[in-house]
Symmetry: C2
Subunit: 188 residues, 2 copies
């Protein structure tokens, strides 16, 4: 099965062949094309997703119909509505495909099962969450005090590849600025 997934997990914790086979067996696959929804607001959320290939956005639409992007996900990233997934509530965010996508699907039940049975996997997700938490803190710091140019530069530093694959409109929404303002920045 997916070598990439194994490498991804083993960046954090080693797995025996048997363990990995067991883990991999818990996943199913899913393919979506550009513009298709992975999760829609107000729907139930049953799965966590790992991106094999493609690019997605997770976003909330506010009362005025404005979209605010919470996260992008490309190869090797996890994505879901974790609030809904953890608490078994309805989705408050939507996720759709910016490009054609290939995903590995891990249901809540299988995730919990894996975490109960395999120490290493429990630790994997624990460390992933903690790293995600830290990453969001960094993003908050930039939203709190940095101007649009600084925010853009940071994202450019963090993942230049992502920027090239994104329409500017979406990037603006992620950075919390209007697309006109983004357009007036200097783009390295």
């Amino acid at each position: 099965m997916s070598i990439a997934l194994r490498q991804h997990i083993e960046k954090i914790t080693p797995l025996t062949n048997a363990e990995f086979d067991y883990v991999a067996g818990m996943f199913t696959t899913k393919k979506l094309t550009k513009h298709q929804f992975l999760i829609q607001e107000d729907h139930e959320v049953f799965n966590d997703y790992w991106v094999v290939k493609g690019l997605l956005k997770a976003y909330h639409t506010d009362g005025d119909g404005r979209m605010h992007i919470l996260q992008f996900a490309m190869e090797d990233w996890w994505i879901s509505d974790y609030q809904a997934l953890n608490n078994q509530t309805r989705a408050t965010i939507a996720i759709d495909c910016i490009e054609d996508c290939e995903l590995l699907v891990l249901s809540r039940e299988n995730k919990e099962k894996l975490c109960d049975e395999l120490h290493s996997i429990a630790n994997f997700f624990r460390k992933k969450s903690s790293a995600g938490y830290v990453a969001l803190q960094q993003r908050i710091l930039f939203l709190l005090n940095k101007n649009p140019q600084d925010r853009y530069n940071r994202l450019y530093q963090l993942s230049p590849k992502l920027l090239q694959r994104l329409p500017k409109t979406l990037l603006a929404s992620y950075l919390g600025v209007s697309r006109e303002t983004l357009s007036r920045l200097s783009h390295p």
Copy 2:
């Protein structure tokens, strides 16, 4: 030992008496007075902290000497510089006491030990991190698109008690607005 800590953990996962005693034995205690530092920027970070009593702030100071508050922590909250703690790097944020504080201290080693030995504790921290991640996502959504009044109202809804214990200057910094702007909002 701390009944409160046991209740805190058992909100997520049950523990036997023996397990809890073992867990509790991994913590030490620490008392600090108002204005004292728990963590200073550029220092090493060895511990995670759980607040028994008191109120602290975690913040970053930018190049212009402006403080940006990442997190407050009061009773029942965990706090540390997780970036530094996880990666064994130097602190990029400072944490100090807004009120006199009483803390339970869990070293990185003991935390990892507990997570390796006790399934339930590994799951506890995993779920805590995930919940923390979701909470930060919500905060990001408000920073992305809401005006100061909405941000204030949200925090008022989330924890009105916190607001009463905080100097407005700190609140402004947390919300990402100037104290003058905060002062001009309607305070319910």
